[in-house]
Amino acid sequence: MSLFNIFDIAGSGLSAQSLRLNLTASNLANMQNVAGSPEDVYRARHPIFRAGGSSFQEEMTGRGVEVLGIVESTVPPVQRFDPGHPEANEDGLVYATTVNPMEEMANMISASRSYQSNLEVINTSKELLLRTLSLGQ
């Protein structure tokens, strides 16, 4: 029954968007982090989405969206001279993260809108399924 399938599809959308929202929260929370070496710096994380169902069979039934993985930003960290900082290395340098707050805010809005529309899909399908169940009563 296709209406039950919708719960899987919209559910995958919900989990993908909430992961994206989580990563945005993590990026924003770590925006001010500094580290003593470029390797230890927090890097902005973003999810990679892919249309679900790679096989032919799955393609027919449709599996919604899946998260392929999480990638870290490759933007080089900003180097700052701050010898008084407890994290500073022997040259007095600290490395700051390059999380872009504007990008993160835009991502957050987009994720929450998409989450809402998936939720709306679930609610509508639930309503319709219940009505179908009560046919003839």
């Binding site: 989405f49 987009s110 709306e120 899909v121």
Partner: protein, 128 residues
């Protein structure tokens, strides 16, 4: 085709199938390269109602199609009004509007079916 429920039985199936498709589009609203798809409702209904969607078997050992014929080969790709850089052709607001329209149509079908059942019930009980 069952004459009691007429076209509404097929209509319900096609509506449910379209809802599935639109949900898939909405779930992939942020997937790069995803192409939104939709179906031609009338054409799909004709196919289902005329019974041509099912693979006909003329021998007992022929393979049967599991859930009627899949309608996926008849699906159309959406032409976006505003194409996006990442190749995604889902326009969330339009998809939502279509989803709502489809949900209302589904409810209408339920209404028709309920009316039909009511009629039958009246006939069975003799109006008492």
């Amino acid at each position: 085709m069952d004459p009691i429920f007429g076209i509404h039985e097929s209509a319900m199936l096609v509506r449910a199938r379209r809802m599935d498709l639109l949900a898939r589009n909405l779930a992939n609203a942020d997937t790069p390269g995803f192409k939104a798809r939709d179906m031609d409702f009338t054409q799909e209904l004709d196919r289902l109602a005329s019974g041509t969607s099912r693979l006909t078997t003329t021998h007992e050992r022929h393979l049967r199609s599991p859930r009627g014929a899949s309608a996926d080969d008849q699906l159309k790709y959406r032409v976006p009004h505003q194409p996006s850089q990442d190749g995604n052709t889902v326009e969330t607001d339009l998809e939502q509007a279509r989803f709502a329209e489809n949900a209302v149509a589904y409810q209408t079908t339920i209404l028709f079916l309920n009316g039909r059942i009511g009629t039958l019930r009246t006939a069975i009980t003799g109006g008492r």
